[in-house]
């Protein structure tokens, strides 16, 4: 089929991981695109929730912020933010939470807070927002990330949100009952945690991607599964849906101002 970019492949692979019955806590950017592509293709019944309080939203264009009016106008209902975090996130009603990362380690622990020391940071990043509780309250966590050695690191500078910690049963030892990161989708590959060690392991490579490319763009030496699939490339319909969505989005966000 026609050509596609690594980012498009990443978004579409993430969309495929979602099902019609999922209730997703959506972040901005790639997760938002992935969730809405899923909704517009194979998962029309999926429930999308943004932390601004919008439940069951179906935006025609992707929001620039998690609080865009479009989200409220197309939602089943919009609740207060305290209710969102208490009844809906902490209440354990979310099946899939999406997280991005500035730094990610092999166990799915994430840093979006600081580069360097917390109290005297080299770079002060935005911080966690909802991530600390999203990471532990959702039944499972999907992570999307553009691969780069400074993004996929041996050791993160700050534990903004907890993945599998040091691996193994570390979550259980902290009394966390949810699965945590079960899927990492990058622009190059699909990774899943090892059943025992919980270390992210490459299970599928996107079209034209080699093990070397994955290794060079990863800050730790990555593990590869015994059997590695090639990620099915985007279908006409998937790619068309994503590109239409992004075109509508671009138009909407320009058009707003004279």
């Amino acid at each position: 089929m026609t050509d596609f970019t690594p980012n498009e492949m990443m978004t579409i692979a993430a969309a495929r991981a979602l099902s019609n019955d999922d209730v997703c806590f959506v972040g901005i950017g790639a997760p938002s695109a992935a969730c809405n592509v899923a909704r517009l293709t194979h998962a029309p019944g999926i429930t999308l929730i943004y932390e601004s309080g919008t439940i069951g939203t179906a935006p025609d264009v992707l929001p620039l912020s998690i609080g865009d009016g479009e989200l409220c106008e197309t939602a089943l209902c919009t609740v207060s933010v305290p209710e969102m975090f208490r009844y809906w996130l902490m209440g354990g009603r979310i099946s899939v939470g999406f997280l991005g990362a500035a730094q990610l380690d092999r166990f799915g622990n994430i840093n979006t807070t600081v580069i360097g020391d917390y109290h005297h940071p080299k770079v002060r990043l935005p911080g966690g927002g909802g991530a600390p509780e999203i990471a532990t309250s959702c039944r499972e966590i999907f992570i999307t990330l553009k691969q780069a050695p400074r993004a996929m690191v041996e050791k993160i500078d700050f534990f903004t949100s907890f993945g599998h910690g040091e691996g193994g049963d570390h979550r259980r030892r902290l009394g966390i009952t949810t699965k945590g990161p079960t899927l990492l989708i990058t622009d190059l590959a699909i990774w899943r945690p090892d059943a025992e060690t919980k270390e992210f392991t490459v299970t599928s490579l996107h079209r034209g991607v080699t093990r070397e490319m994955v290794t060079e763009s990863c800050g730790w030496s990555p593990r590869f599964a015994d059997r590695i699939d090639e990620t099915p490339e985007p279908t006409e319909s998937e790619l068309g849906t994503l590109r239409d969505l992004q075109a509508r989005t671009a138009a909407a966000h320009q058009g707003k101002r004279s």
Binding site: I28, E51, S52, G53, T54, P63, L64, S65, I66, G67, D68, G69, L71, C72, E73, T78, V79, S80, V81, P82, M84, F85, R86, L89, M90, T113, Y118, H119, P121, K122, V123, R124, L125, P126, G127, G128, G129, G130, A131, P132, E133, A135, T136, S137, F158, F159, T160, S161, F162, G165, H170, R171, L174, G175, I176, H253, Q254, K256, R257, S258
Partner: protein, 282 residues
Amino acid sequence: MAEFLNLSEAVQRNLHDGDTVAFEGFTHLIPHAAGHEAIRQGLKNLTLLRMTPDIIYDQMIGMGMAKKVIFSYAGNPGVGLLRRMRDAIEHQHPRAIETVEHSHSAMAQAYEAGASGLPLAVFRGYKGAELARVNPEIRSITCPFTGEELAAIPAHRPDVTFIHAQKASARGDVLIEGIIGVQKEAALSARRVVVTVEEVIADFDGKHPNLCMLPHWTIDAIAVVPGGAHPSYTQGYYARDNAAYLEWDRISADRDLFAAWMKANVLDATPEIFASRVEALR
């Protein structure tokens, strides 16, 4: 009891140097006009409370008004970083600021606890998260029934909360619609409450009974400021000025450009200008 005042008097009477203040609004209904008035009045040593400091606090921090910021996401939503806040944290420019950092869940529940008159919020949170190590206000309690350890943080009790809403009634009741965020809780947790509104209507007769309202006796001052949320938005009145958020990334990147922009658009301006700023967004 709600009193209708012009914005400058509403701010003068209710916001003082050294106050702990919340200007709330979750992407929607951010009270920018009230924030600009506070900047014009040159308030000092404020403790700024807000989930996402956003442009509204980036401007106050850049103007040196904040001694402390309590927050959960220091980003420019959908755009990137808050460059004036970063400059203050990384280079103490124009002054050093103390930061107290929480998660969104914690901030929202601290407002909810404050609105409930409680001294603390108890919730399941921060498990495995390093904020619990660097923020001494994050403690824990043990459930006497299950033995589970739960996070505990102090309730928010700001001296004053500023919010923006769609409508006030002639009596001073306030109606908030759409993405209501934490505004009701931020208002009810505060000692004083100032609301800017798009318009005043006679009464709320015929409105659905379950809408988000603040009775007049929970509010101290109301100022009518059409467009008062710009570049944030007001559902039913005007759209978010996404271009302005993108533009802020450029303006805030340079100290001098920031200073010039603030002089031209805030210090030398008046609340009336907000109406014209949203014309093209209606």
